[in-house]
């Protein structure tokens, strides 16, 4: 079980006074289906298709009791947003819902290749169950890699992302090279759009590797835990300079992109943060570190319960209320930086806001209904075993193989995505069937993670009131809607930028275009 205490409020900010529904005496009849939640001094209402309004308490009282005057501004707002039964536009609601679920029409677009478990760093919260550098039997072979590529390219998604992970993927660089070349060639033959990403600590990077990765347009991502002292304390190299090495290569790679004529605001190394207990009071230093490295985005992820983090959680874990306080402080600071002209966004906020403000789903696989396990992503382990998701693979390395779907040597693509485990996870992560979520105001924007539920609560369904993931999701959305209610123009402008998607076309290999040739063209 998780060490996290279930929260009674979503954040450390003072809880708003609840609505007295008994005194209010709601009357059904004029309202279309809606859910409601008190956010700050307003009442947020959302409808079936994800439309929303922030009402004052008197406005909500009128709405709930069916006493909104017909010729009033409130009536017009409610009708325009599809909250009134007499004016409910079914077609519009259906189209909006379809837009939010567009990802259902295609199969896995993300294919995680764990090319080795070997890693040169030891991270206190490692969720990958890394192996020592002499454990060469944990390297993926070229033969397994090719079979994994063939399965990945069988996906019904026209757009395939192959993400190299580990361990440390640079440890098994020959297979990374082989996959880039083999998959690049096969994607051209099959008419698939393809891109590569790599999550690396960069400590084993050198010029030759970088040349290859640049030539094959591999998007590079690393981990930065914040300032140097914190990073090096949590991510240990024998030389105790993990931060310095990562920073060195972040700057080198960003300079290479600039030299190629690529827009630095769009093309730069992204970094990921893992929030431990040590991180929480240092939110300003974390943001400043990322901004100083030229990063345009932070993903303020809480620690997860997989791998080593399970063993060290007593030292690393924290109540999610404390995390949410950290989150609010960090994002408030980021918004202040935005006000000063510094472009930096928070990734969780960007994902939620895209759903809230644009009615689109950015297809972040852990934040959608149903979740992406098996239907949006597949994870291929070094030994050829295939899992519903990377967390499922991590559980396998911890001794629990429940989320294994098959093997590259014996499974067909349809066997994998049609597996009964995938069906179970789809059902379990559909919020329309989940207690609590079914009534939650944030249901149109949210998602649950079956593997998290299973690890922390014993079933893929989970119990949301006791779920740390739910607590985080609610807390972040409360914060965002408070900001939307305050309607500060500078904040709204920042949110508009955070939800403006700019495609990184340079990293996409389209059919008819050779990878290494295109890499030379800005």
């Amino acid at each position: 079980m998780s060490a996290v205490q279930p929260a009674t409020s979503s954040s450390s900010a003072s809880s708003p006074a609840p609505l007295d529904l008994v005194a209010l005496r709601p009357q059904a009849g004029t309202q279309a289906f809606f859910r409601h939640r008190v956010v700050g001094d307003r009442v947020l209402v959302t409808n079936f298709e994800g439309g929303w309004l922030l009402l004052t308490r008197p406005e909500f009282a009128q709405f709930a009791t069916g006493t909104v005057p017909a010729a009033s501004a409130l009536h017009d707002r409610l009708a325009a947003a599809n909250f009134l039964r007499a004016h409910y536009d079914v077609r519009r609601a259906a189209d909006a819902l379809a837009a939010r679920r567009r990802f259902l029409h295609a199969g896995p677009n993300l294919h995680i290749f764990v090319v080795t478990l070997r890693c040169n760093e030891t991270c206190v919260y490692c969720h990958a169950s890394r192996a020592n550098m002499d454990q060469v039997q944990t390297d993926m072979t070229p033969e397994i890699a090719e079979k994994a590529v063939e399965l990945a390219l069988r996906s019904t998604s026209p757009f395939i992302t192959i993400e190299f992970q580990g361990g440390e993927p640079l440890v098994n660089f020959p297979v990374v090279q082989h996959v880039c070349e083999y998959a690049g060639r096969r994607a051209q033959e099959l008419g698939k759009q393809l891109q590569f990403t790599m999550v690396s600590n960069f400590a084993l990077m050198d010029d030759a590797k970088l040349d290859f990765l640049i030539a094959h347009r591999v998007q590079l991502c690393t981990s930065i835990d914040g300032p140097e002292q914190l990073h090096n304390a949590q991510r240990k190299l024998p030389t105790m300079d993990a931060h310095q090495r990562a920073v060195h290569w972040i700057r080198r790679i960003n300079r290479r992109y600039e030299d190629m004529g690529l827009d630095p605001t769009l093309y730069h190394v992204e970094a990921l943060l893992t929030t431990t207990r040590e991180t929480l009071p240092r939110w300003k230093e974390v943001v400043d570190t990322y901004v100083g490295l030229g990063c345009k985005a932070l993903f303020l992820r809480p620690i997860d319960p997989f791998g080593f983090a399970d063993r060290t959680r007593l030292r690393l874990e924290y109540p999610r209320g404390a995390y949410l306080e950290f989150y609010r402080n960090a994002v408030d600071y980021m918004l202040e930086l935005n006000r000063q002209g510094v472009q930096v966004l928070e990734r969780y906020a960007g994902i939620f806001l895209t759903k809230i403000l644009r009615g689109e789903d950015p297809n972040f696989l852990d934040l959608r209904s149903p979740a992406g396990a098996g239907i949006g992503q597949l994870a291929y382990n070094y030994d050829g075993k295939i899992f519903s998701c990377d967390e499922g693979r991590m559980l396998h390395e911890m001794g629990d193989s429940k989320f294994q779907l098959g093997d590259v040597r014996t499974s067909s693509y349809r066997d994998l995505v049609g597996h009964e485990t995938v069906r179970a996870m789809v059902l379990a992560s559909n919020l329309d069937g989940q207690p609590d979520c079914v009534n939650c105001t944030y249901q149109p924007y949210c998602g649950t993670i079956p593997t998290f539920n299973y690890k922390n609560q014993g079933s893929i369904f989970g119990r949301m009131r006791e779920s740390s993931v739910c607590q985080v999701h609610k807390g972040i959305q409360d914060y965002l809607f408070e900001k939307l209610a305050a309607a500060d123009p500078a904040v709204l402008a920042a949110f508009d930028r955070w939800t403006t998607h700019r495609a990184r076309e340079h990293f996409v290999q389209t059919p008819g275009q050779a990878a290494s040739q295109a890499a030379l063209e800005p």
């Binding site: 679920r101 259902l104 029409h105 295609a106 199969g107 896995p108 063939e150 399965l151 069988r154 996906s155 019904t156 149903p370 098996g374 239907i375 067909s412 693509y413 349809r414 066997d415 995505v417 049609g418 995938v422 069906r423 789809v426 059902l427 559909n430 329309d432 069937g433 989940q434 207690p435 079914v438 014993g458 079933s459 369904f461 119990r463 009131r465 006791e466």
Partner: protein, 163 residues
């Protein structure tokens, strides 16, 4: 079972520290049997779970901690956790019935979207014989099978279920 809990109505729960076990009386009119199964199944990795009918219309759930020992606090926590899971399962049972069409539609679309249309190789390797169905009118039989004449030679496509 020897003792009950002061914060739970009498007669609903009892515990036995010696046996490291708790018993809960569950009303199936509030918690459908499927919900009881759902909650019980969650616990079989860390408890021994036994279901009984002490009387018609009642279910008694006995949870015995594996390992043979548990203190009063741990047993009380077990009761609370089981009750929460039971509530969740009961509610989910109701929601599933209410939203069945929506859930089935989304699931079908998700799986169908991921699987795509079967290829000829996929169809050739599909084992229709597993589908066992009643055919009292012999509709699935060919004319030759029905009337005893040999079927014309047919090509066999034994493709593997591989991409």
């Amino acid at each position: 079972m020897q003792s009950s809990y002061p914060d739970i109505p009498a007669g609903l729960v009892a515990h036995d520290l010696t046996a490291a076990a708790v018993q809960l009386q569950v009303d199936p009119t509030i918690y459908p049997l499927q919900a009881i199964y759902g909650a019980a199944y969650i616990f079989i990795d860390r408890c021994y779970v036994f279901l009984e009918r002490p009387e018609p219309g009642q279910v008694r759930v006995t949870l015995t901690a594996k390992g043979g020992s548990a203190d009063a606090g741990a047993l009380r926590a077990l009761v609370g956790e089981f009750a929460n899971e039971l509530l969740g399962c009961a509610w989910r049972h109701q929601i599933t019935q209410d939203n069945r069409v929506l859930l089935e539609t989304v699931t079908m679309q998700a799986i169908a979207g991921a699987m795509g249309q079967p290829s000829l190789d996929d169809l050739a390797s599909f084992d229709f014989s597993d589908q066992g169905f009643d055919d009292p009118l012999g509709i699935a039989l060919s004319w030759e099978e029905k009337h005893g004449k040999k079927a014309p030679a047919a090509s066999t496509g034994d493709g593997e279920a591989q991409p």
